[in-house]
């Protein structure tokens, strides 16, 4: 019970301490920078991993970068539209994950492996 109280108090301090000074334009730059770095790391993973599920996971890392970028853009323009856009991106990410994993399971059933190189039949 005391731990919960301390957690709530600590998190409210974090929130309040962050909110009062987090309104000018510089704070959004940091968020967008972290978003860009996450996006780039996701691109690296998507291009060089051969496991189909890990390739999908790297697109999810790219989604996290996009979410941070949207929140930063909302901070830039000082309204909530960035966050609402982020919520819809979250919905799309959930839809994409569900359908994409269903397709991956079908591909696995056909070839018996998760290797993306097995599907290189169009290579000349």
């Amino acid at each position: 019970m005391d731990i919960c109280f301390a957690l709530v108090c600590g998190s409210s301090v974090l929130i309040e301490g962050g909110r009062h000074g987090f309104g000018d334009m510089n704070s959004a730059v940091g968020l967008m920078l972290v978003g860009a770095v996450l996006f780039g790391i996701g691109v690296v993973g998507f291009l060089c991993r051969r496991n189909l599920i890990i390739m999908f996971l790297c697109t999810e890392v790219m989604f996290q970068g996009v979410l941070l970028n949207l929140i930063g853009a909302g901070r830039l323009w000082n309204n909530l539209h960035g966050q609402v856009f982020g919520l819809f991106v979250l919905v799309i990410a959930a839809v994409e994950a569900g359908l994409g994993l269903a397709i991956v399971v079908m591909l696995f059933r056909r070839r018996g492996t998760l290797d993306a190189e097995r599907w290189a039949t169009m290579r000349g």
């Binding site: 998190s11 974090l14 929130i15 962050g18 909110r19 987090f22 000018d24 334009m25 704070s27 959004a28 730059v29 940091g30 967008m32 920078l33 972290v34 860009a36 770095v37 996450l38 996006f39 780039g40 790391i41 996701g42 691109v43 690296v44 291009l47 060089c48 991993r49 051969r50 996971l57 790297c58 890392v61 996290q64 941070l68 929140i71 909302g74 901070r75 000082n78 909530l80 539209h81 966050q83 919520l87 979250l90 919905v91 990410a93 959930a94 569900g98 359908l99 994993l101 397709i103 991956v104 399971v105 696995f108 059933r109 056909r110 070839r111 018996g112 492996t113 998760l114 290797d115 993306a116």
Partner: protein, 252 residues
């Protein structure tokens, strides 16, 4: 003043590229320590750039969460075992949610944890466990990991492409002045309340469309998973039985 920030960003991206390249899985891994040191250096350079562009009262939690998120994302990409990648991705989601809380987006942070870490990641772990193959248990370094997990394809090209993109994006974000509305934060007593008002008034059609999209996705996933897929693996009875499981598993 801004040009050294941009060059610092490029240097950070270069160090990060080298760190990820060294940490990617390959047949022999003699330089693992160097990968860790370079990764620490790259994250340190990123934190330096972040504190150089930050406002006066950015808390320490922002830098700590950024470092954790970027480090965990690097680990998602470079780990050889899929389950570990999924678990490190949970850490990325928690870090992103923490950054959203710091930026005042509390509802989005809670939604991230509930939907991403709670639903999407659990689905990923299920599918990873479901689509498992028995690996080569020859006592090698990864003791059962499969070849397509332990060897990255074309690591040089992938790291170059990804980190040139990162350096360009980051250089533009840091170097150019971004257009926006400067001033005090709009009074925001309850983030959830304000987002609820916005979603029911201005974005109500989008919410309905999102609901329809979710239903379509649910029907589509069920239809896909119940489809009978002819297995093309010849000579393997178990793999042929795998293809039948979609039809035999009755949901009710």
């Amino acid at each position: 003043m801004e040009s050294y920030l941009v060059y610092g960003t490029y240097v950070a991206a270069a160090i990060g590229a080298l760190a990820v390249f060294l940490a990617l899985p390959r047949e022999k891994r003699p330089v693992r320590g160097a990968a860790w040191i370079l990764a620490a250096a790259a994250i340190g350079a990123l934190v330096w750039v972040l504190q150089a562009v930050a406002s006066e009262s950015t808390t320490v939690a922002f830098y700590v969460l950024s470092a954790i998120t970027v480090g965990a994302a690097g680990r998602v990409v470079t780990h050889a075992k899929p389950v570990y990648s999924a678990l490190y991705f949970v850490l990325v989601v928690i870090g992103t949610a923490g950054l959203a809380v710091i930026a005042g987006a509390e509802f989005l942070a809670a939604g991230l944890i509930i939907v991403y870490a709670g639903a999407i990641l659990v689905t990923y772990v299920f599918v990873i466990m479901l689509a498992q193959q028995p690996g080569n248990v020859d006592g090698s370094r990864y003791g059962g990991a499969l070849n397509y997990d332990t060897v990255a394809r074309e690591p040089v090209a992938a790291v170059l492409a990804g980190f040139v993109l990162t350096a360009t994006l980051a250089g533009v974000i840091v170097g150019r002045p971004l257009k926006g509305v400067d001033g005090p934060i709009a009074p925001d007593p309850e983030n959830t309340l304000a987002i609820g008002r916005l979603m029911l008034s201005e974005y109500s059609v989008s919410v309905e469309l999102a609901g329809v999209l979710l239903m379509v996705a649910m029907v589509g996933a069920i239809a896909l998973s119940r489809r009978k897929v002819a297995s093309e693996v010849d000579g393997d009875v178990d793999a042929a039985a795998l293809g039948e499981s979609g039809r035999k598993a009755k949901p009710f």
